[in-house]
Amino acid sequence: MSVSSSVWPLIYLTEMPLLPQQVIELVSDPACGGIDVFIGSVREHTQGRRVLRLEFEAYEQMAVKEMQKIADEACSRWPVQQIAIHHRTGTLQVGEIAVIIGVAAAHRAAAFEACRFAIDELKQRVPIWKKEVFEDGEVWVAAHP
């Protein structure tokens, strides 16, 4: 495990910009043949409207706890060596990275499937909320039917 020698935790909620290279280094391991990395960033348009910026808020202690649970569940369901989940909070500009998930495994199928699982679960249950700010208003994403 590469955790102990690293500055950054595997599960990380931060206001600072996220760096893919950090996540990749965190999960890299000579025992692993494959790493799958998912990077979610702020799109400039959503349903045809131009996004000025996004604002993320989190119920931090629970968000970190749920992110850790997702990582643990992924490790129990797939033969995975290491998982890192980094999520940003605060104000993000278009193109900035909101989330990075990195999964290292001996074989690529497990890396892909666990990474997909982790981002799907994160979007379902981690208490983080995203507000899209447009020129003419703002909206909490997914709040209303």
Partner: protein, 80 residues
């Protein structure tokens, strides 16, 4: 009893504060709390979902609240 309620996202906008001191009957369950809140703040009824966490864990409608619980209103999440 009086509960400490935390509200996030659109729930915070609807109730008008991050933290709320909120009076309910003793032994109130989560489902009853939600009904009471939805009567007082009808806009909560328009949400896709409204979950409750206590002490950083999701709890069901049957969960019986106590005064020491930190109760958190969780509108539809949208991280990632």
């Amino acid at each position: 009893m009086e509960l400490n309620i935390l509200a996030f996202g659109i729930a915070k906008d609807i109730v008008g504060a991050r933290k709320l001191r909120y009076r309910v009957a003793a032994h109130t369950r989560v489902g009853e709390l939600l009904e009471q809140l939805q009567r007082q703040y009808p806009a909560l009824q328009g949400l896709n979902s409204l979950k409750v966490a206590v002490n950083s864990e999701y709890v069901g409608h049957d969960y019986q609240l106590s005064e020491s619980d930190e109760v958190v209103l969780i509108p539809p999440v949208s991280g990632g």
